[in-house]
């Protein structure tokens, strides 16, 4: 049992099925994309209890009892409109992952997570374009729509921070 986009869902799967395959092949939620299936591109990013995870590196079993939000469930969200306005996409294949990742990234930031470009890790730095680029660097865009993506996140970061859920500690 898990909750996917607010809907309680029961899945009967063998234990090795990844969350990504569970979403795409079993729940037919094809908005989440498979770019590499090995944790290197970010196309499969979804939110689990408000944190961004790579669905290809997560077993479906691991999210038992938790809340999964995919691109189909995030909206309507101001970041989506900002992506359209700022042209944060070309082929669109990375876009669902970028949007989920950005939402999760802002939530992390709001809860004080530092990044490697943060000078003083005892304070929470502003979400500058440099911080955004660093924190989003796990999401590849082969079309190179990076400028538009950063602009869309900059535009929306304050609103996203307002909306960010309280993050519970990561279960061991």
């Amino acid at each position: 049992m898990l909750v996917v986009n607010d809907a309680p869902t029961t899945l009967d799967l063998e234990p090795r099925v990844s969350l990504l395959d569970a979403l795409r092949e079993h729940l037919h939620l094809t908005g989440t994309k498979k770019g590499c299936n090995q944790g290197a591109c970010g196309a499969c990013t979804v939110l689990v209890d408000g944190r961004r995870v790579l669905a290809c590196l997560t077993l479906a079993m691991q999210v038992e009892g938790r809340e999964v939000t995919t691109i189909e469930g995030v909206g309507p969200h101001p970041l989506q409109a900002a992506f359209v306005r700022r042209d944060g996409l070309q082929c669109g294949y990375c876009t669902p992952g970028q949007i989920c990742s950005a939402i999760g990234m802002v939530a992390e930031h709001r809860h004080g997570a530092a990044s490697v470009v943060t000078d003083d890790v005892t304070t929470t730095p502003d979400l500058t374009p440099e911080e955004i680029r660093e924190r989003m660097s796990g999401n590849l865009c082969r079309c190179g729509a990076y400028n538009g993506i950063v602009e869309a996140i900059v535009d929306t970061a304050p609103a996203m921070a307002e909306m960010a859920p309280a993050l519970t500690p990561v279960p061991a």
Partner: protein, 846 residues
């Protein structure tokens, strides 16, 4: 009828509208080929059996163990092919090979109820191989003269005389790497057999018509029995121009034999190990300059690393030869081209299609020679620009050469180039362990397919009785915004608001015989066809409106969904009302449009003609900072001015320029394809077959400051609404990054140090380059001959190879059919004539 390039006032073209699928992308509703699987019942999944040898004979293939794996339904082998066992148009790419030609070559495919079962089935198949000697590097192939296809030769003037009159003669060699496309969506196809045995293939292909043709010849069917549809692609970049056909054919064959839909989707490792990439090249050259640094002569031999089959290597090589001049006037030129045959993936189209490789050679030459001539690299480049009245080495007059000067001057101004050059110099004086470089480079890129025949396109435009419009054209969407532009073109020509027009997916049963969406020409060609169809409809509606308004039809205007007389917007008819009236008057409300680019001619045997409609221009200035301990660097600032004519869609165009630049910078600085060149059992294996080992540009490598402007007042006559193509040319703006790195590395040595920089210029490569510069400092008197560097001044130096007496100078194999020559002539020109076989399907490329 207005001419093609005249743009009406208040037109929808030119508006900065979002990508037509943007709303679908941000909500995850946009469908890609593999997303259709969950909407299709009873799908079988395909998985390949890949050979673990670079070159081997298949001595035994036993598929029976696979059938013991639960869920396995069928194993596809060569025996199953009812038509031609071939995945290409040149008959040198067996779909099921009996001779393995590269590590990872698929010898057969397993179909099963689940992907997992197919994978297990594939690992159960028993294959025995007899390994054969293999050639893995381009230099291996050159050493034993393993070449394939045509060996073009481009010559103007007298190179020897040009070198004789030069004050400075240098020679060198240069080997540079290819590039993996890494479109984020891997290859996929979903095939099913429709009613009446009609084959329907959903494929992510840039060339649906050719996918249709290959599927048909593999299945032994006629083209009208096969329909190919491409909804959209998650990136293409040329990698889906030739490569999708075989995969579509496997899926279609499986569907035919089992009666069930078959899905083939490559994993990332499959995709990287099985599909072609950008060609790496080897170049040898001699160049002469006069005392002022003006280019006098260039003698070069370019060898493209073609991989195991010909694929698009011939036209790629031709484009490389046609771009070795970049934006520079070189009076006496001789360039020879060859395609090495190696045991690697079959290298193919990649954004720029050989153009970047040709241009990289001359930019490398200028970057290396500038310090030796004692001329700043920027001045050396500027000094050699084409001027009005000059022509390229292949005889095409260079129109609008002043545009590159305008763009250059604009970048110098907006980037504050002079002041920042001084700052860089000051920084370098003050810092021993880090250095900066600031470089500016131009781009001139020819637009059109080299092969004239491909410069045609079709479109289908329907106006329904309620006034709504549905368009269809032969181009495919891979993120480049072609569909967005086509909607804008239709709305402009019909004079209706953008939402009135909708676009239907690209299908071969709507528009036949299309060319690949490639060569940056998608908008030029399909835009011409869409406009032509809309013009036909407008002409008919004009008569209806003229009658109703009581005016001369020629005076009727269509604007913003209203139809009125010229200069009299008061008496107007709403578009939908006029359409309805036209229907009742039995006026045809749909049209098939057609376009062909006029004024092109090209003789590939002579390498002479005017193959391009026009040139696209651009200029970029880039500043980098390099760390002297590690070679690590960052890009501090990029300024670009690029010529897209009068933009059809500025948001799309700026995105293409930024994205092209980023991808070019990836090719030149980060992306490092490594094959196992050792003699062990994994010889020929691609070692970098995942994003974990193949470094792609990410957010972290983005320039800290990135300014892009479109060149103003750049209307292009004779092209749809005055626009220019944009897909490929911006990639080559990234030469500025490489040249900035070279200059920064040089700053670690004494003034005048010439730096030999490997490509890609990874941090490691930059480190060795700056080490070389430092070494030059310790023996300053020999600065012209840095140890280990392949650059020689004066004398005969490194003399480029000249074609042998039996070198093939006829039309490339890929153009035989187009030229009415026998397709199966044994005189295929390939050194290795296994590469051709009998065939009636020989097609042509670019």
């Amino acid at each position: 009828m207005s001419t093609l390039s005249d743009r009406p006032r208040n037109s929808v073209v030119g508006e900065a509208v979002p990508h037509e699928s943007a709303a679908l992308h941000v909500t995850g509703r946009a469908l890609y080929t593999d997303d259709l699987v969950s909407r299709t019942r009873d799908v079988l999944h395909a998985f390949p059996v890949q050979a673990p040898h670079a070159h081997a004979l298949v001595t035994r293939l036993d598929v029976t163990p696979a059938h013991a794996v639960p869920g396995v339904v069928r194993v596809l082998t060569a025996d199953d092919v009812p038509g031609v066992n071939d995945a290409g148009v040149k008959h040198d790419e067996p779909l099921f090979p009996s001779e393995v030609m590269f590590y990872g070559h698929a010898v057969c495919w397993v179909l099963a109820e689940s992907l997992e079962a197919a994978r297990l089935g594939a690992s159960a198949v028993v294959v025995d191989y007899e390994p054969l000697p293999s050639l893995v590097t381009v230099t291996d192939a050159i050493a034993v003269a393993s070449f394939q296809g045509a060996q073009p030769h481009l010559e103007r003037g007298d190179v020897e005389a040009g070198l004789d009159r030069s004050t400075h003669v240098f020679s060198g060699d240069f080997e540079f790497a290819g590039q993996e496309h890494f479109y984020l969506e891997t290859h996929a196809a979903l095939a099913l057999v429709d009613e009446n045995e009609q084959i329907f293939v959903q494929s992510r292909t840039q060339h649906p018509s050719e996918t249709q043709e290959i599927v048909a010849h593999v299945l032994g069917l006629a083209s009208h029995e096969v329909t190919v549809q491409c909804l959209r692609m998650g990136g293409g970049f040329g990698g889906k121009e030739m490569q999708p056909h075989g995969f579509a054919a496997i899926a279609a064959l499986g569907a035919t034999l089992t009666g069930r839909p078959v899905r083939l989707r490559l994993t990332r490792n499959h995709d990287m190990t099985m599909t072609g990439k950008r060609h790496g090249f080897h170049a040898t050259w001699r160049v002469g300059f006069d005392g002022d640094g003006r280019l006098q002569a260039l003698d070069a031999t370019l060898t493209a690393d073609g991989g195991w089959s010909l694929d698009l290597s011939e036209p790629v090589l031709a484009r490389a030869l046609c771009h070795i001049d970049n934006a520079y006037w070189i009076p006496d030129v001789r360039v020879n081209g060859r395609i090495a045959r190696t045991h690697k993936t079959s290298q193919t189209a990649f954004r720029g299609f050989g153009g970047p490789q040709g241009m990289l050679v001359i930019e490398d030459v200028l970057g290396r020679c500038a310090p030796l001539l004692g001329i700043a690299a920027a001045d050396l480049r500027r000094r050699n620009f084409y001027s009005a009245g000059q022509a390229t080495p292949y005889g095409q007059p260079v129109r609008h050469p002043e545009r590159v000067v305008t763009a250059w001057d604009q970048v110098l101004t907006t980037s504050d180039f002079a002041a920042r050059t001084a700052e860089v110099t000051a920084f370098n004086l003050a810092h021993e362990d880090s250095k900066r470089g600031l470089a500016i480079t131009p781009v001139k890129f020819g637009i059109s397919f080299n092969l004239t025949a491909f410069n045609q396109a079709g479109a289908l435009v329907h106006v329904y009785k309620d006034g709504s419009v549905l368009i269809n054209h032969g181009g495919t969407e891979m993120g480049q915004g072609l569909h967005t532009k086509m909607l804008q073109v239709a709305a402009t020509t019909l004079g209706v608001p953008l939402p009135t027009v909708r676009l239907a997916p690209t299908r071969t049963d709507k528009v036949p015989n299309t060319s690949a969406t490639a060569a940056s020409s998608g908008a030029d060609l399909n835009g011409g066809a869409v406009k032509n169809a809309c013009d036909q409809i407008i002409e008919r509606l004009r008569t209806v409106a003229g009658g109703r308004l009581g005016i001369n039809p020629a005076d009727v205007r269509f604007e913003g969904g209203q139809v009125h007389g010229v200069g009299d917007p008061s008496a107007c008819i709403p578009w939908a009302e006029l359409v309805r009236q036209a229907y009742f008057q039995r006026v045809q409300l749909w049209a098939a449009g057609y376009y062909r680019t006029e004024g092109l001619h090209w003789d590939s045997s002579l390498m002479q003609g005017e193959p391009f409609k026009y040139f696209s221009y651009g200029v970029a200035a880039t500043e980098v900072e390099v760390d002297g301990f590690t070679g690590a660097y960052r890009t501090r600032r990029v300024d670009i001015v690029h010529d897209v004519g009068e933009s059809l869609s500025p948001l799309v165009d700026i995105g293409q320029i930024e994205g092209g630049f980023v991808q070019g910078a990836g090719w030149l600085t980060l992306e490092d394809l490594r094959w196992d060149t050792g003699d062990g059992p994994t010889r020929g294996r691609l070692a970098t077959q995942a994003a974990s080992t193949y470094k792609l540009p990410s957010f972290s490598e983005m320039p800290e400051v990135f300014h892009v402007s479109l060149l103003q007042d750049a209307h292009e006559d004779g092209v749809v609404y005055g626009s220019k193509a944009v897909g490929e040319p911006p990639l080559m703006l990234a030469f500025s990054v490489r040249e900035a790195l070279r200059q920064a590395a040089a700053a670690f040595g004494p003034p005048g140090t010439s730096v030999d920089l490997a490509s890609p210029a990874t941090p490691e490569a930059v480190y060795w380059a700056l080490e070389g510069a430092r070494a030059a400092g310790t023996k300053a008197e020999h600065r012209h001959l840095v140890e280990g560097s392949h650059l020689v001044e004066g004398g005969h130096g490194i003399v480029p190879a000249q074609p042998g007496p039996d070198a093939h100078a006829l039309h490339p194999i890929s153009e035989r059919w187009a030229n009415g020559e026998a397709a199966d002539a044994g005189a295929a020109g390939a050194v290795d004539d296994e590469s051709t076989g009998p065939g009636e399907h020989v097609g042509a490329h670019r």
